[in-house]
């Protein structure tokens, strides 16, 4: 029996290790390439032949730096720059602002909707839930085109505000997991509080919220992460050719670094990798640290389907 278990363990270890290596390999490759001195053509080897930190330096100074030290003109605006005393925000700062705004707005909206559906009984509640379920099926891209005109009409096209509105406007419709979590909290708590004369608002704010830390963290986390790495909406709303690059987000910026230029792809390959690493690090750290909350949020909410 014991021998069987040990053999089983060894097999599982081997499988897991192989899988884990496969899983991590592309990411390791990306990180290694961020130190590569050559363009993409030189990326045929897994490990770069020369190590060099110029890619990161180039991001900080918004310059394309080649290995022999010559600096090209300001190309990509990653962290922002000061010109004639005016501060121009870079893609990284833009994205951070958008993600933070969305995190706050979307979290409040999602939790409020989930609470209303879970705890409050009002007319047309089930009707609302069904309509939201159906609306969620609509392909987002079509809505995006029309949102673009809408933003154009109210005059905030191609600003980060338009993105914030688009990202967080429909946040209430993603209430499912939070509602599932609220459903797990006993209703008797509410009733007891109500007998003590607490209003619904007080119950929500003073009783349910402190009990739902995992779901608050989970909601905030997803609300932060989704705009952080979002490309399609951002590129459609901000990425047209005529806009100043000061409004770009990192996703547009990095994707544009891989565009075909001078007849070949990946002239800024090293810088793309460096940028990707910098963009990935904060969310990866946040995500890994908050994994616990993520799991309890998902499973707590998913138990009810």
């Amino acid at each position: 029996m014991k021998a069987r278990r040990i053999i089983g363990d060894i097999v599982v270890y081997i499988i897991l290790t192989i899988l884990a290596v496969i899983w991590v390999l592309p990411i390791v490759w990306l990180v290694l390439q961020s130190f590569s001195a050559r363009g993409y053509g030189g990326a045929s080897s897994f490990i770069p032949t020369e190590f060099w930190f110029g890619n990161y330096a180039g991001l900080a100074t918004n310059a394309v730096v080649s290995i022999n030290g010559s600096t090209a003109s300001s190309m990509y605006n990653f962290f922002g720059y000061v010109e004639n005393g005016t501060l121009y925000l870079g893609a990284f700062v833009n994205t951070l602002l958008i993600a933070l705004f969305c995190m706050v707005i979307a979290t409040i909206m999602t939790l409020a909707t989930a609470y209303a559906f879970s705890r409050l009984r009002f007319k047309a509640r089930t009707g609302f839930m069904r309509v939201i379920l159906i609306l969620g099926m609509f392909p987002g891209f079509l809505s995006l085109i029309i949102m673009y005109w809408f933003m154009d009409t109210i005059g905030i096209r191609q600003t980060i505000w338009s993105l914030i509105i688009i990202y967080s406007g429909g946040a209430g419709m993603g209430y499912y997991i939070s509602k599932g979590f609220f459903d797990t909290i006993s209703k008797q708590i509410d009733e007891a509080a109500m007998i003590d004369g607490a209003t619904r608002f007080q119950i929500f704010y003073k009783i349910i919220m402190p009990l739902s830390k995992p779901i608050v963290v989970y909601t905030a986390l997803t609300a932060f992460m989704s705009p952080w790495g979002e490309y399609i909406t951002a590129s459609y709303v901000l990425g047209s050719a005529n806009v100043e690059k000061t409004n770009w987000t990192v996703a547009i910026l990095l994707n544009n670094m891989l565009a075909v230029e001078d007849g070949r792809r990946g002239k800024y390959w090293g810088q793309f990798c460096a940028g990707a690493v910098i963009v990935a690090i904060p969310v990866a750290i946040v995500f890994l640290c908050m994994q616990r909350y993520y799991v309890s949020g998902v499973t707590g909410g998913a138990v009810k389907g």
Binding site: D9, V12, L16, A20, W23, P26, I27, W29, Y40, A43, S44, M109, A112, T113, Y115, A116, S118, F122, R125, F128, L133, I134, M137, F138, P139, F141, L142, S143, I145, I146, T153, G169, G170, G172, D183, K187, D196, G197, T199, R200, F201, F204, M225, G229, Y231, I232, Y236, L254, N255, A276, A280, A284, F287, L288, V295, S296, T299, A302, K304, G305
Partner: protein, 893 residues
């Protein structure tokens, strides 16, 4: 005991199977327990799963068919429902219009007028403001927007240049579309608000005139109760009251029985609505015998049936000859219902007025200040409750902390917090006033207690005023009315002197209000005219009227009427409590309307236009070419590229993709989670972190990295080239309808999808109760058996419902294909495909290409989007309705 209970069951079992579970349990000690061989359990497990899957698929298919039927039924029902709903709404509004007086009727045109009339300032001004804004908007812009939307112009707009001459400016049709739809949404919202406004106005009206409404309902109940007496009295040639029209009933009630206008209207309404329905249709042609048999059969049930269904069609069919019986049974039911309605009416308006809450609050305050010494003690924590809680009594002159004091008052008097706050504030004020004089404790105490006494007096006076105004007056008026009706002989002479003298006599001698005096005069007039001055007859009729007022007095005493709509401040406060749902849902709903519903409607509309490369954003008009091009599947698949053929081909790939992407991730994720969570494995956290890394990084980075890693210049291909001498076009191969790129997309999707399933399944695995495994182990179940019988069902039960969300998400999974293959996928624009589509494109990707490419076929994109939407919505609705957790949502909480 248990044996006794189960005896029947066990006997049955023994008959069917010789070895019952009981014997098996008894045999454990004697025989050596043999665990099931692994192949048997494996086989059974597989069989089980396959069977379950089959059953699930079958029932799903049945559900799909049912769902289709339901959709057809729903559409019909919805269309009919709109008309019927509108009819009922209009009918209700007509009724409201009749019920209210002119100042409230103004509310139908000027929103909020009725509320302002009833001094509901907040509601009134809000409704009024919204109306003004809406009217201004519609007059200045909205009307034009809708007109433009209806006539989407193909013609360019001619604009006169500032310098002279004209210029053809293309009209901005996309703006027209957007603003038109926005205006329509605003109109719908306003219509809803209009309905709400009328309802609010009517509610207010009912509160203010509650005595009359209450009486009308009581009168209706009375008439229904005494239906037979009433119907006997009606003109001889008419057998039943039910034969009469509404107007006739109305006149009869008002003129002959002297009911008030509102009561008569209400009674006639009840007849019109309910009693009329009971009038049996003559079904003379039916066989007599059949009817008789049915009648015998249902005789006993008849009463129950009548009460239950209030004259169902069946009943009308069964008792066509028994109108009396049916009506009689129905009348009893109706009278009961009418009484209930009266109670409901009172309950409903208790919520909306200040009467009870005001009295309750005031009485609490009086009770507290009545026990001045106790309150004084509570302030200084000298009361028994504080003592028992171990709080030290505070010395005189020490600083009292408001929060603590409030708590002590709550404890001492057991009153709600908000009341305690009110009381404490007042008490502390008088205490500090007493302290300012600088006198010794005894004197200060005396002063404070005297002050408390004074406060109590003020509140008592307030209560008296209030009760006098809203509680006692109607009772006194009602009693005076009854008295006035009974004093025919005394009042007859005033009647002859004219209405002025009559009413002033009533006002002075009986204490009636002028309105009530007028009412009495009117009733006298009708009665005297109706009875042709026959004194006995008149007295008889007026006596009936007086009888109503007697019963009315009783009813007021039972349920006092209130007549004071809730104050503005309280109505605002309601938004944190009863109406919290409104305050919470408003912003998310607005957001959803702007971000989802507005685009949805616009997209649907675009599908009905000819907006494509030939007709640009400025020059499109109404047309159905999009639908005909996409759904003309069979007409144009032969060889040439067509939208229909492309649609079918890409739809097939989309569904294959969605199935594979969903289930590979699901199954692989569960397996991975099982491996990682194996009990003897160490370093779980490290492994998990390594896997999670691929989802912690934004998708566009990981997918782009994958794309480059596997591209023709990438390290994988150069490795293959140098080692084996060949390379694979992972994402550009065109053979077999781009089979390799498709498979690669599914595999890469696993790379970024499996960790999600792994994470959530890990969480679920940790939640499975340990004792389940313990008991399974005792039963001799091996590891595999445990997996099949405990772990898998649990995991599948919990995660199953989320599969549909994942499935739909995968149908719309734009990112993977976009970043891996790009917008120029394999076979792009090749023969059966139109120029905008590639073989690897999902429908959404095609949609993107259509909208962003040169052609800009927005109409076709819209039609495709709608098709995707319809499929997804249908699927998820079917599955959503199957979920047990949705069916018994309440039971879960």
């Amino acid at each position: 005991m248990v044996e006794n209970e189960n005896q029947g069951l066990e006997e049955a079992e023994e008959q069917s199977a010789p070895s019952s579970s009981y014997e098996a349990l008894a045999g454990i000690g004697n025989e050596e327990f043999k665990p099931e061989p692994w192949y048997l359990s494996l086989g059974r497990g597989i069989l089980n799963v396959v069977l379950k899957c089959l059953i699930w698929v079958l029932s799903f298919l049945i559900d799909v068919v049912l769902g289709l039927c339901k959709i057809v039924a729903f559409v019909f029902k919805a269309i009919a429902g709109i008309f019927v709903g509108a009819y009922y709404l209009v009918r209700k509004f007509v009724r409201i219009w009749r019920d209210v007086d002119w100042s409230y009727r103004l509310g139908f045109i000027v929103q909020g007028a009725g509320n302002l009339r009833a001094k509901q300032w907040l509601d009134g001004f809000v409704f009024l403001g919204v109306e003004i804004i809406f009217v201004l908007y519609m007059a200045l812009f909205g009307g034009g927007f809708i007109a433009d939307l209806i006539n989407l112009s193909e013609e360019p707009e001619i604009i006169v240049r500032p310098g002279g001459g004209t210029m053809a400016m293309p009209g901005n049709n996309q703006l027209v579309l957007l603003l038109g739809v926005l205006t329509i949404i605003i109109c719908v919202a306003y219509a809803l608000l209009f309905i709400t406004g009328i309802r609010a106005m009517y509610d207010t009206h009912q509160i203010v005139h509650q005595s009359e409404y209450s009486k009308a309902r009581a009168d209706a109940a009375y008439v229904i109760d005494h239906y037979n007496e009433f119907s006997k009295e009606v003109d001889g040639h008419r057998k039943y009251l039910a034969d009469m029209g509404r107007k006739e009933v109305f006149d009869l009630m008002q003129l002959k029985y002297g009911y008030s206008r509102r009561s008569a209207a209400y009674i006639s309404y009840v007849y019109w609505k309910k009693v009329k329905k009971t009038e049996p249709n003559a079904l003379e042609n039916l066989s007599f015998n059949l009817r008789k048999r049915f009648y015998e059969f249902y005789k006993d049930k008849a009463v129950w049936m009548r009460a239950r269904t209030w004259c169902s069609p069946l009943e009308r069919f069964l008792f066509p000859k028994e109108p009396k019986l049916v009506i009689k049974g129905g009348i009893a039911y109706l009278a009961e219902k009418q009484k209930q309605e009266n109670t409901v009416f009172h309950h409903k308006f208790d919520k909306y007025n200040d009467y009870h809450s005001f009295l309750r609050d005031e009485k609490t305050i009086i009770r507290v200040f009545d026990q001045g010494e106790k309150l004084y003690d509570a302030l200084f924590a000298r009361d028994p409750v504080s003592q028992s809680n171990g709080i030290k009594p505070l010395p005189f002159g020490s600083k009292l902390r408001y929060g603590m004091t409030v708590t002590r008052v709550v404890g001492a008097f057991e009153i709600p917090l908000d009341m305690a706050k009110k009381v404490t504030k007042v008490a502390l004020r008088s205490l500090s006033a007493a302290l300012k004089t600088g006198s010794a404790e005894e004197e200060a105490r005396e002063a404070v207690l005297a002050d408390f006494e004074k406060i109590r007096g003020v509140h008592e006076a307030r209560v008296e005023d209030f009760v006098e105004k809203y509680g006692e007056t109607p009772i006194r008026q009602s009693e005076a009315m009854a008295k006035a009706y009974r004093s025919y002989l005394e009042l007859r002479r005033f009647y002859d002197e004219g209405d002025r003298v009559f009413t002033s006599a009533l006002v002075n001698a009986y204490g009636l209000s002028p309105e009530n005096a007028k009412r009495v005069y009117r009733d006298y007039k009708f009665t005297i005219a109706g009875t042709k001055d026959d004194e006995m007859e008149s007295i008889k009729f007026l006596e009936t009227r007086a009888g109503f007022y007697d019963s009315y007095t009783e009813s007021i005493k039972k349920t006092p009427h209130h007549g004071k709509p809730t104050g503005s401040l309280k109505r605002v406060k309601e938004f944190a409590d009863e109406k919290f749902a409104i305050s919470v849902m408003t912003i998310p709903t607005l957001g959803a309307i702007i971000v989802t519903i507005l685009p949805l409607i616009c997209s649907i509309i675009v599908g009905f236009t000819n907006w494509d490369a030939d007709h640009t954003a400025n020059l499109f008009t109404w047309d159905l070419s999009g639908f005909s091009q996409v759904f003309n599947v069979f007409g144009s698949t032969s060889g040439a590229s067509s939208y229909g053929g492309t649609f079918v081909r890409l739809l097939g790939w989309t569904i294959v993709w969605a199935i594979f992407a969903t289930f590979t991730n699901y199954i692989a994720g569960i397996l991975l989670a099982l491996l990682i969570n194996r009990k003897t494995i160490k370093g779980k956290a490290i492994y998990r972190t390594m896997f999670v890394l691929s989802i912690a990084i934004p998708q566009f980075i990981t997918l782009l990295a994958m794309n480059l890693l596997l591209s023709s210049e990438g390290p994988v291909n150069s490795f293959l080239m140098t080692t084996f001498g060949f390379n694979v076009k992972f994402f550009t191969d065109t053979a077999n309808m781009a089979l390799i790129p498709k498979v690669m997309c599914i595999i890469v999707n696993m790379w970024i999808g499996v960790p999600y399933t792994m994470l959530s399944v890990s969480g679920i695995l940790m939640n499975i109760p340990e004792d389940l495994y313990e008991s399974a182990k005792i039963d001799g179940a091996g590891a595999f058996r445990q997996l099949v019988s405990i772990t898998m069902p649990y995991v599948v039960f919990v995660t199953g419902p989320s599969l549909i969300t994942t499935f739909v998400g995968n149908i719309n999974n734009f990112n993977v294909i976009y970043f891996l293959v790009g917008t120029r996928g394999p076979n792009k624009g090749m023969a059966p495909l139109v120029s905008t589509a590639a073989d690897t494109d999902l429908l959404v990707n095609w949609l993107y290409n259509l909208c962003t490419g040169v052609e800009k076929n927005y109409n076709i994109a819209s039609v495709i989007g709608l098709a995707i939407f319809a499929v997804c919505a249908f699927l998820s609705l079917v599955v959503y309705n199957r979920m047990g957790s949705v069916k018994n949502e309440e039971a879960f909480q």
